[in-house]
Amino acid sequence: MIKLIKNELIKIFKRKNIYILLIIGILIMLVLNIFEGIKTQPVDMQKQYKRLYENDKMLLENFDKLETKDSYENIVERIKLEEYAIQNNIKYNIIINSENNNVTLPKDARYLLIKMFNNFDILMIFIVIYLSSTIISEEYNSGTIKNLLVKPHKRTKILLSKIVTAIFLTIIISILMVVFQYLLGGIIFGFDSYELESIKYNSLTNNIETMDLMQNTITTLLKKEPMYLLLSLVSMLFGIITNNIALNILISLGLYFISTMEFLINNITKYLFIFNWDLTTNNIINIAQSISICVISFLVIFILLIIIFKKKDISNE
């Protein structure tokens, strides 16, 4: 199995494509960070919080009359955070997930690290889908799957080596992205803000939660991993079914975008795995149930993958 995984890694890392993708990712992160760095100006934070607080109170009271792109939940979240910031004399930006576009607060390295997952989710998704598609679809497309399947390994073992490689790379790349953002943010904004706490509003419990930044980052990463891992498996499944990399990428990306459409969530669809795989969002049923749905979905897709891979005849070219 180790040698099979080694083969998969050779095939991935001896291609230019993966490096091009990673370089594009790095450049996008670099540009966004530099842009935020240029935009950020020092302000009187308490004064800004009070302005924001007044503004948001007014928005909330007149929510039905005013046309605003903000959601009710976002405004409520902001008000709670603003109250906390004013009461505790917070001098840094804690409005991260529900920004008020009328009154902006300066950003720092800590802010960008927390916001990283929102900013760069699509990048990570694309890398995951690309890796998982090529690990399966490309072999069928180019015919090299025949080479693999006439070797002394059971098909299940061959597939397992690919799944393990995809999962391993997904986790490594997501960690590397966090590390890169940490370093980039620190270089542009300074590393001192990393010592500040992460402050969040939990809409389910209606409480403000404080957490060590590193703990928060690790927790957020862990909450994102089910989405990345499930998307990886789904891409591989569609890869075997369609034998077409482009179609596979399209379907997988499509699933991701559907999962971001909150208006599709109702009493039935809320149990679908695509609406539960991102454990950082507020629209999950409850975290324990979401995790269960993710685990069950992972197992079902995994079993489907094995069944289809084992039974699939290799058609003539």
Binding site: L4, S142, V150, P152, I314
Partner: protein, 301 residues
């Protein structure tokens, strides 16, 4: 000793029967040619043997192991090229061989370099496959197929894309492999190649076996031997050949169905009757002629 045994193989997809009643074996040292026109089912048979497609009925045994029940043991000593060499174009020849070697136990770097040398790619082995000619890719495919020192080698069109020199080298390589006792199954449209390489022919038409014979048996169209007599003229030969089966080919040649022992007697008879006998030759059919007669008038690519 049977290295490969196919018993009543059948492949059916929905209502369509692709191949059926395919039974043959390949022994150690055999070079068996699988012949047939496009769409006859040759590649399907190869894929059934290698477990690339599910067998509808029948079984395949390789070194006694059932390909469906004991796949790993059955396929362990098999090397194959199916349809065309499937290579990672963005990798070097060496990396392609390395990846193949990693599927087996105990294949050293020396063995990788050895097979590269055997197929004549040692100078280009570190170059990317995308820079190889078609013939070089074919040779790399062979290198991959023999890297695990197989006991059964299955080759689909092994000389495809090779120039004359390459074809001769490939032929010599296949012959040397069979001399080492490796059982070889070659699927080909090239009857000259089959003629030169194989000791047995299995002809396939419309998914069924037409024949499984040695080369000599294959070329013998009928059970009787036949001789071509070239005379000064064939007028009135029927009077001399009353007791013989014969066919007039042209104004100077006749095909006469006789045994070797009767040749001298018949020649004397012609001479006695004032015919001049210029040539007496035992008739040998080429594989192509034999194929067309036995398998049918399908166009062969």
């Amino acid at each position: 000793m049977k290295v490969l045994e196919c018993n009543n193989l059948k492949k059916q997809v929905k209502n369509k029967i692709i191949v059926q009643d395919i039974s043959f074996s390949v022994n150690k040292g055999d070079v068996v040619g699988l012949l047939g026109p496009n769409g006859a089912g040759k590649t399907t048979i190869i894929k059934l043997i290698l477990g690339l497609i599910k067998i509808s009925e029948g079984r395949v045994l390789i070194n006694g192991y059932n390909i469906e029940k004991d796949f790993v043991k059955a396929i362990d000593k098999v090397g194959a090229i199916v349809e065309s060499p499937d290579l990672y174009m963005y990798l070097s020849g060496y990396d392609n061989l390395k990846i193949t070697a990693n599927n087996y136990k105990n294949i050293s770097k020396d063995r990788i370099l050895e097979v590269a040398r055997i197929v004549g790619l040692d100078n280009r082995i570190k170059d990317k496959v995308s820079t190889y000619s078609l013939g070089m890719r074919q040779r790399l495919g062979i290198a991959e197929a023999i890297i695990n020192s197989p006991e059964l080698l299955i080759l689909d069109e092994p000389t495809n894309g090779l120039d004359i020199e390459g074809t001769i080298e490939m032929r010599n390589l296949i012959k040397s492999l069979s001399n080492q006792g490796i059982a070889i199954l070659i699927s080909s449209h090239n009857l000259t190649e089959i003629d030169n390489l194989c000791n047995r022919i299995i002809a396939i038409k419309s998914g069924k076996m037409v024949t499984d014979e040695t080369i000599d048996e294959f070329k013998q169209i009928s059970n009787e031997s036949s001789y071509i007599f070239e005379l000064n003229n064939v007028e009135n030969v029927d009077k001399i050949l009353q007791n013989y089966k014969f066919e007039i080919i042209d104004k100077n040649k006749i095909r006469i169905y006789i045994s070797k022992e009767k040749v001298s007697e018949l020649t004397k008879k012609f001479l006695t009757n004032n015919y001049q006998v210029y040539l007496v030759q035992e008739e040998q059919f080429t594989s192509e002629e034999a194929f067309i007669k036995k398998v049918g008038e399908n166009k062969i690519d």
